[in-house]
């Protein structure tokens, strides 16, 4: 190949090199133009990840064609080169099984579409917003602004939760109330909390479910539906409203407490405090 290039340069000189440079520049500009037109007219009708993948195929494919054109200009025999490339491909294939696995997994991901860019997902113990979907991996931006790269093979083989797939979500809040409290009253107060909060959806109706008898409380599942974009506002406002409503109505949320016993005589701290007050 090198001898062909040297022969080419020797025979045709600077003019041909200049023509080749012009061809390469024009070719590259043409590839970018095709890519731009694709993104402007066809890419908008597709989802973002399909558009990104096709756009990359256009650029990579164009560049490969351009390289082949350059080599052809240097009178390099492409058949020999492709034969060599075949052998090299086999060697590289064995060496890069993981990468190829990731590429194939990436294609499955694109066709299956379990999530799109912008969705919030949970993979293992990591959760965040899908930042990009590439041939080898997806990138997730976490809530504390870190970028996590997850190989496509991992995504295919593990459980992925798409948190924001549907327009509405349910927020489950576990509450415990004292055994002394009237449970009808508790249910009424919780339903009122949901009704007065304009961010909580009226339908599907909020759920108040008495889940069981705990060690020190009657346990309740209070679930409200909300628009997925309002997660923080709903969580904060509902918890604040429950606390305020329970305080107002005299409903107790029991919590474990300890009595410290110190000293030789076993006088409790609480007991000492009481005797001081007296």
């Amino acid at each position: 190949m090198l001898s062909s290039i040297m022969e080419y340069l020797h025979n045709d000189g600077v003019v041909k090199i200049l023509i080749l440079v012009v061809k390469v520049v024009v070719g590259y500009v043409f590839i970018q133009l095709v890519n731009y037109l694709f993104k402007k007219y066809l890419g908008r009708q597709m989802n973002r990840q399909s558009s990104t993948v096709i756009s990359r195929f256009i650029v990579y494919g164009g560049v490969i064609l351009l390289v082949m054109m350059v080599l052809d200009n240097f009178n390099v025999k492409l058949t020999t080169l492709l034969g060599t490339a075949g052998v090299m491909g086999l060697v590289l294939g064995f060496a890069s099984q993981t990468s190829i696995g990731n590429i194939v997994s990436g294609l499955f991901l694109i066709s299956e579409k379990p999530f799109v860019i912008g969705d919030m997902i949970k993979v293992g113990d990591k959760s965040g917003i899908v930042y990009s979907i590439d041939l080898l991996s997806i990138k997730i931006k976490t809530m504390d602004n870190q970028l996590i790269r997850v190989p496509n093979q991992t995504i295919i083989s593990t459980e992925v939760t798409n948190i924001t797939r549907f327009p509405i979500r349910r927020m489950d809040i576990n509450i415990g109330v004292s055994y002394h409290d009237n449970l009808d009253k508790v249910e009424e107060v919780l339903r009122e909390v949901a009704r007065l909060n304009i961010l909580v959806l009226d339908e599907p109706e909020p759920l108040v479910l008495f889940t069981g008898f705990g060690e020190s409380s009657v346990d309740i599942l209070f679930a409200v539906w909300f628009e997925k974009a309002n997660y923080v506002a709903v969580k904060n406002s509902v918890i604040k409203s429950i606390k305020a409503a329970f305080d107002r109505e005299g409903i107790e949320i029991p919590f474990p407490y300890r009595t410290l016993v110190t000293g030789k005589d076993g006088i409790s701290v609480a007991g000492m405090a009481n005797s001081k007050n007296n």
Partner: protein, 261 residues
């Protein structure tokens, strides 16, 4: 500070330089400070409390407030009335019953929104009365809407003092063999243009032809002023002027509780 009322807004309000204006009605408090080249807009939304019939009884704490200053000439500033920015899930307090082959025409009062535009760009879209949100459909597919517990009245009972609303006529026609109970309906008020007549905000007419529980209903939203207000002044285009017919088929939904444990 000049008090702005809905009558001024309905006749095309243009602020004057070096004046301040106040609009304070139900849940919305809106303040405008107009200078020669700059207008400052401030608003606050109160969180309403409602009685058992879901009627507004008192205004409570402020739930939201905002201020913005914009570089504009006073004549580039506009406030226009509008329908709510989402469909409304109508739940009449007394649901009308329509016998088969019968037709009735009733009016409902829909809370008004105010749109604030500067140089024809929407800056704020504010409700005069805040409504609670709801979902219409299955949890994976449906429409976000507002719940509206309303009274459906005949034309003669329209309350002219109730100014913060848009009066919307609805014709209910029952073509099914059963009695039609109009208890729950997704009303897409955002497809209706607005008019002003006799100091009232009025929308175009909506026709609902009920064909039975299995066949649903044909719903159509009008584009012109109602018959009794032919000379009404045109106020605002519908928020959404084009729509797919499939959208209108999603108007009756009989599954009321779709929550799962």
């Amino acid at each position: 500070m000049i008090n702005l009322d809905l009558e001024i807004l309905s006749t095309g309000f243009v602020p004057k330089a070096n004046n301040s204006y106040l609009f304070d009605y139900l849940d919305l408090r809106l303040e405008l400070f107009v200078e020669k080249h700059q207008t400052t807009i401030g608003y606050s939304l109160r969180r309403s409390t409602h009685d058992r019939e879901h009627q507004l009884t008192a205004n409570g704490e402020v739930s939201n407030d905002s201020f913005v200053s914009l570089q504009c000439q006073p004549e580039e500033f506009r406030i226009i009335p509008a329908t709510p920015n989402r469909p409304l899930l109508l739940k009449p307090i007394h649901a009308p019953n329509v016998f088969n082959s019968q037709e009735i025409r009733l009016w409902i009062a829909v809370p008004l929104n105010l749109q604030i535009l500067v140089k024809n760009t929407l800056v704020y879209d504010l409700p005069v009365r805040q409504l609670s949100s709801t979902w219409y459909g299955e949890p994976d597919e449906g429409d976000l809407a507002y719940t509206l517990h309303c009274r459906m009245v005949q034309h003669k009972n329209i309350d002219e003092k109730n100014r913060g609303v848009i009066w919307c006529p609805i014709v209910l026609k029952n073509e099914s063999p059963q009695i039609m109970t109009f208890s729950r309906f997704l009303f897409r008020a955002n497809l209706l243009p607005l008019f002003c007549a006799d100091n009232l905000f009025i929308s175009a007419e909506t026709d609902v032809i009920y064909k039975g529980q299995d066949h649903g209903a044909d719903v159509s939203y009008g584009k012109t002023s109602p018959l009794e207000f032919v000379e009404a002044t045109f106020l605002a285009q519908a928020r959404q002027t084009e729509w797919d017919d499939n959208l209108l088929r999603r108007s009756f939904h009989f599954i009321k509780s779709i929550s799962n444990v």
